[in-house]
Amino acid sequence: MSSGEVQPTTSFQAYRAGLAATGQSVFSYVLFGTYIGIGALSHDFGFSIGWALACTVVVWAGPAQVILISTLGAGSGIAEAALAVGISSARLLPMVVALLPMLKKPGTSSWKLLLPAHFTAVSMWVEAMRLLPSRREGRIAFCNGLGTGYMMTAAVATVTGFYLAAKLPPLASSALLFLTPLAFFMSTVRNARELVDQLAFALGLVIGPLFAYWQLGLDLLWSGVVGGTLAYALHRAREATR
């Protein structure tokens, strides 16, 4: 299948291939670690196990869940929690816009894209961008398989974390929390094959914390727009001089 030759693939085979791909992905371990933390957090703020599990399936975005649980749990109003979640999740928009054109053929109905859009989160996006170019057929089903695999892993971890409930010593908790930045860093670098992506990543690393430090509102979104546009402009300038 990796040969990229035209091979008849059924949707089910593509879905299964996506599901299987999560078994070999470093993100499964990262998600497991991240969602153990989220499960423990839900428990500590007094939410039920059913609520914690539903939150993982329905929201399906790690940072948004951490914000939701900690704001609602700490007694913030629903409007305030919604605003904080909405701001943190704006990063999903460019991810979905970059991913969906790889899934569509002329005439693909938008309804079929709602499920892969729901599954889009950092882990699924990074793996899909890496694995999709070697697939011709069944890309939507493949993405749904990826999403299902990751979501199942996260669901198991949410339950595990809920019952472990932060009984871990600080060193173990620190190591778990550090998994996310570490693995996202390596995977993004591995994916950034073109200069424009490498530049964008490096600029985001520098601009992101600066904007956060200056306490601009929507700092992540702005660092993305400024860093990404700068990288794109440099890429265009380089293309033009060739």
Binding site: R91, P169, L205
Partner: protein, 116 residues
């Protein structure tokens, strides 16, 4: 959660404050992606924006660390990220090797500063 009158209240809050403000960006993405081709210039730009946001998220999680991770010195966290990246480059761009080396560096550094 005790402040929610019922379990249903907590689920309603999840939908209003968690699901809707999050999912709306995915729905907007479906709308904006209509008619875009994967090689079009706007998609290259959008991918650069998404990648830069990811860089920002990673840097923020490292520098303004959440929870107990904030108890480890900033220098240890940054050094662990650099060591992880070096291992990643040395071991044929293996994400697994990078994560392992970075985690080992973080734990060693934390132990050095008396966190256990």
């Amino acid at each position: 959660m005790s402040r929610f009158a019922s379990e249903y209240g907590a689920y309603l809050a999840m939908i209003l404050a968690g699901f809707l403000p999050n999912e709306v960006w995915r729905w907007l993405g479906v709308i904006f992606a209509r008619g875009l081709d994967e090689d079009s210039e706007i998609v290259v730009w959008v991918r650069a924006v998404a990648t830069a946001i990811l860089g920002g998220v990673i840097a923020k999680l490292t520098i303004f660390a959440p929870g107990v991770l904030a108890g480890t010195p900033l220098s240890v966290r940054i050094a662990a990220l650099v060591i992880g990246f070096a291992a990643f480059l040395l071991v044929r761009r293996s994400v697994f090797a990078g994560v392992l080396a970075g985690e080992a560096a973080l734990v060693a550094g934390a132990l050095l500063f008396g966190i256990s």
